[in-house]
């Protein structure tokens, strides 16, 4: 349990740095386990308050339970919810059959750029973790993006001790990653420790022998074979498993994620 408190202390520190340095700050919330833990950590950092808006990038293809859960927590926790959606692309009929990377780019990356531009956010807090996949393993806690939201991983700023990159030229923005040091198991251990409400109907086996390990759009996210019915079951299962967490996420195949993330994908 001590290691979870260490992770919590570091994440809370990062969130407070972000809040201090960015006047136009927002947090991305996908209703998945990671960004919900992130939201909970914000409530820890700010003593029950969430002093910035939460952006949900709604591709319109999300699993319906996710939307219901989103609206319920937004009410109960008095969240300032901002919905981002690339309506132009949707009107033109964008969907995954046009190519998964193309679809993610239009409905997620572009939708995010639109909402960032419209609202003028200069700091964006995200729940990415280094252990999810290779490009995320190289992220900084405070990671600059250029005018086109592109990530220059060849020339990342130094990050020394607890001093982060909080000054940046106009027109660019900073992505803030408080969960970088958390693993998938840590997320579940923390959900249990803090008793955080999560999407039980999707993450736990409801009797069909399957459950979701990672949530995304309905057409591109597949459940895994699992009989885990409690958080403890999930933790036990993960300790034994050697299968990558995002194996059920289609856009990760091949070089998909490197190309997506260079151009501003979360």
């Amino acid at each position: 349990m001590k290691h979870l408190r260490q992770l919590e202390d570091q994440s809370v520190y990062i969130l407070r740095e972000a809040y201090k340095h960015f006047d136009h700050l927002a947090m991305l919330w996908s209703m998945g386990k990671d960004s919900t833990v992130l939201l909970w950590l914000a409530r820890k950092a700010f003593f029950g308050h969430v002093p910035f808006p939460l952006i949900h990038i709604d591709t319109s293809y999300k699993i319906p339970e996710m939307i219901e859960y989103r609206d319920r927590l937004a009410r109960e926790w008095r969240l300032n919810l901002v919905i981002g959606q690339n309506q132009e692309a949707l009107a033109q009929g964008m969907n995954y059959t046009k190519g998964r990377v193309e679809c993610c780019t239009a409905l997620k990356t572009q939708a995010l750029k639109q909402v960032m531009e419209e609202k003028g956010y200069t700091g964006l807090i995200l729940g990415v973790r280094a252990d999810e996949e290779g490009t995320r393993a190289k992220e900084r806690y405070f990671s600059p993006r250029d005018k086109n939201s592109e990530w220059d991983f060849r020339d990342q700023p130094p990050e020394l001790w607890d001093q982060y990159k909080t000054t940046f030229p106009p027109g660019t923005h900073i992505r803030i990653h408080p969960l970088l040091d958390w693993t998938e198991i840590n997320i579940w251990e923390y959900i249990k420790l803090e008793n955080i409400p999560f999407l039980e109907s999707l993450y736990l086996d409801q009797g069909s022998g399957t459950r979701y390990r990672s949530l995304g759009c309905a057409p591109c996210t597949f459940p895994i074979q699992s009989t885990a019915k409690t958080v403890d079951d999930i933790i036990a299962e993960l300790r034994q498993s050697n299968i990558a967490e995002r194996a059920g996420r289609a856009q990760d195949a091949g070089r998909g994620m490197e190309l997506l993330r260079k151009e501003g994908y979360m």
């Binding site: 407070r16 029950g48 190289k138 990558a244």
Partner: protein, 614 residues
């Protein structure tokens, strides 16, 4: 491609380890081998990479397992730090693979700055190289004291003991100069899997631990908890009725009821509560490493950047110190160029006033000095900050003894403080500290006064050459403020001459300034806006400005530099007024500035929209 290790035992602690060393000495290979041989790779990962290698007709290397970017695989080098996760015997390791190429030193430093222990890899065939030493030097500066040296590629020297002993001796002597004693020196071959997770039959002369064993024997650093308290204030929140001071303890511990002193302001109060969300009952203690929030029993002025401690162990305060700096900026570090210094949560402009020598990792005794410090160099320098700063020597306290320098938008260097340097404010600072520690207050706090007056206490200080209409503008400002209903008072320093200072002669500048500063401090304590100028002290204006800052701290001092000519500009002032004046416009600018700084609440008469958080 999740890189978490699979091990059934529950985790009880976490540790960050960095792998460093000269380029091509086999860091990524070592890491790949460590994961493969402990069964820590995701299913199918090894086979997948092996298949890609066969397709592309290259020989499989363990290093490929973690080189995530296309570019890295093409160049065969790691260009940025990668975190990988690995659990072994109840400890969760974050292993940071740091690039060894000189060009990517800033990435190596970023990786090592997060680590509690390091594996430093040296190629047995090539021996100790330039970056082996530079990385050793940087580890010592970054505070990584536990270092296991891995002499890799022993297969290339046919596992010969004399080769190993030679490197062990050479590098051990180098580390000794940096006050690092390697925890272990391990002969190994990552490529052949020798001494990584399994002891080697090839080297019967070696009885020590394997690389995996050495990880398990690294200690978590808990000593910080036993040090005196260091609690740098990160922010002050007022989301509800509570006024919560937040921050992360970098040393020591605190308990509800403790008396805290804030440096450099010297204000003090007791801890009333420790605030926490979803914790029942609320905590009574906090220790080093924790991010906490506290409330105080008294309203005192506290802001980000101050360091809270117990009264019996306060940090050093000065505007100058000596430090070892490593420079990572594109543009060289130079004297007289403005940088922003960040030490824990405190930020202040600073400059380098002397470069004593460039520290050469290959020859630590060398005393080369130069006017510039280039990228990737380490130098011994003296820094001067614009405002006094609370700090410690790095040898005593890690987190409050180190800092970074920001050049324009970028963190461009880091440093550790090696010595305190006296400055001319020391005596006044001591006086202020003594005075604050015994000051008797009534029941009315500064926040209450501010709510009633519609403004915070502040000093507006006019500076600049004679005959620049300072007195005229000061009078006008006072009139406008009072007409608005603010509590402002014009104090001309000349007024002290015949009264309070009647026992002093013209040469007693120091005492004249001191008394003037103490009078301003008293008036500020009543909650007034004090308007004054340096016109009685024109020859030593900089010194007067600094002295007033020292004596009234933490009340804000707004300096306004006025001159008739448009050439002699004073960059240090908050506002600069040059050339012919439109005085109404100037007053308006000053009011706008005071509002922006949160000194004047707006609009007056209504409930202030600005929540005074003092």
């Amino acid at each position: 491609m999740a890189q978490q290790a699979q091990h059934p035992s529950p985790v009880h602690e976490q540790m960050n380890i960095v792998i460093v060393g000269h380029v091509d000495h086999g860091k990524s290979t070592l890491l790949g081998r460590l994961y493969a041989d402990t069964g820590s790779l995701p299913e199918g990962k090894l086979e997948k990479i092996q298949a890609i290698c066969r397709q592309q007709g290259k020989e499989f290397e363990y290093a490929f397992l973690f080189d995530a970017f296309l570019e890295e695989q093409q160049q065969g080098i790691t260009i940025d730090t990668a975190r990988t996760f690995f659990t072994w015997e109840g400890r969760q390791y974050i292993i940071i693979d740091a690039p060894g190429h000189k060009e990517f030193l800033k990435n190596m430093v970023s990786g090592a700055a997060r680590a509690e222990a390091a594996l430093l890899v040296i190629d047995a065939f090539e021996g100790v190289k330039d970056q082996s030493k530079r990385h050793g030097l940087l580890l010592s500066m970054l505070g990584v004291k536990q270092v296991a040296v891995v002499v890799n590629k022993m297969d290339l020297v046919r596992y010969r003991e004399d080769v190993f002993r030679g490197i062990e001796k050479e590098y051990g002597e180098f580390l000794a100069q940096l006050n690092i004693t390697p925890t272990y020196v391990i002969p190994a071959s990552a490529k052949e899997g020798v001494n990584i997770t399994r002891a080697a039959s090839q080297m019967p002369w070696y009885q020590g631990p394997t690389v995996l064993d050495s990880l398990a024997r690294f200690q978590r650093q808990t000593a910080r908890e036993d040090q005196p308290l260091r609690f740098p204030i990160q922010d002050v929140y007022k989301f509800d009725a509570r006024r919560i001071l937040v921050g992360r303890l970098t040393a020591g511990k605190l308990t509800v009821g403790d008396r805290l002193v804030f440096s450099p302001s010297n204000k003090s109060a007791h801890i009333q509560t420790i605030e926490a969300f979803n914790v029942d009952p609320p905590p009574m203690h906090a220790v080093a490493g924790q991010s906490v929030g506290i409330t105080l029993d008294e309203q005192i002025f506290v802001e980000r950047g101050q360091i809270a401690t117990h009264p019996e162990s306060v940090p050093l305060v000065s505007t100058s110190f000596r430090a070892h700096v490593f420079w990572l900026g594109q543009r060289p570090l130079e004297m007289k160029r403005p940088y922003l210094l960040r030490l824990t949560t405190r930020e202040t402009p600073c400059e380098v006033i002397e470069i004593h020598r460039i520290v050469d990792a290959n020859n630590l005794d060398d005393h080369t000095t130069r006017a510039l410090v280039h990228r990737n160099e380490v130098a011994d320098v003296t820094l001067k900050t614009k405002w006094p700063i609370a700090f410690d020597l790095y040898a005593d306290f890690e987190a409050t003894g180190r800092f970074v320098l920001v050049d324009q938008y970028d963190v461009s260097g880091g440093g550790i403080i090696t010595a305190f340097v006296h400055d001319e404010q020391e005596e006044l600072r001591h006086e202020a500290r003594m005075r604050e520690s015994t000051w008797i207050t009534g029941n009315v706090g500064p926040e209450e006064r501010a709510q009633h007056y519609g403004h915070r206490a502040a000093v507006v200080l006019f500076t600049g050459p004679d005959a620049a209409a300072k007195a005229f503008l000061a009078k006008k400002l006072e009139s406008v403020l009072v007409a608005e209903g603010r509590h402002a008072y014009l104090l001309d320093p000349l007024n002290l001459r015949r009264g309070l200072d009647s026992d002093l002669g013209d040469t007693d500048t120091h005492e004249t300034v001191r008394r003037f500063g103490e009078v301003v401090r008293l008036l500020a304590d009543t909650g007034l806006l004090i308007i004054t100028s340096t016109n009685a002290f024109s020859s030593t204006a900089d010194h007067v400005v600094q002295a007033i800052h020292t004596l009234v701290d933490p009340v804000p001092v707004i300096t306004i530099y006025m001159t008739k000519s448009s050439e002699r500009l004073q960059p240090d002032a908050d506002l600069v007024f040059a050339g012919p004046e439109d005085f109404d416009e100037r007053v308006h600018e000053i009011l706008a500035f005071l509002k922006r700084k949160g000194i004047l609440a707006d609009p007056l008469g209504l409930r202030p929209s600005f929540q005074f958080s003092i």
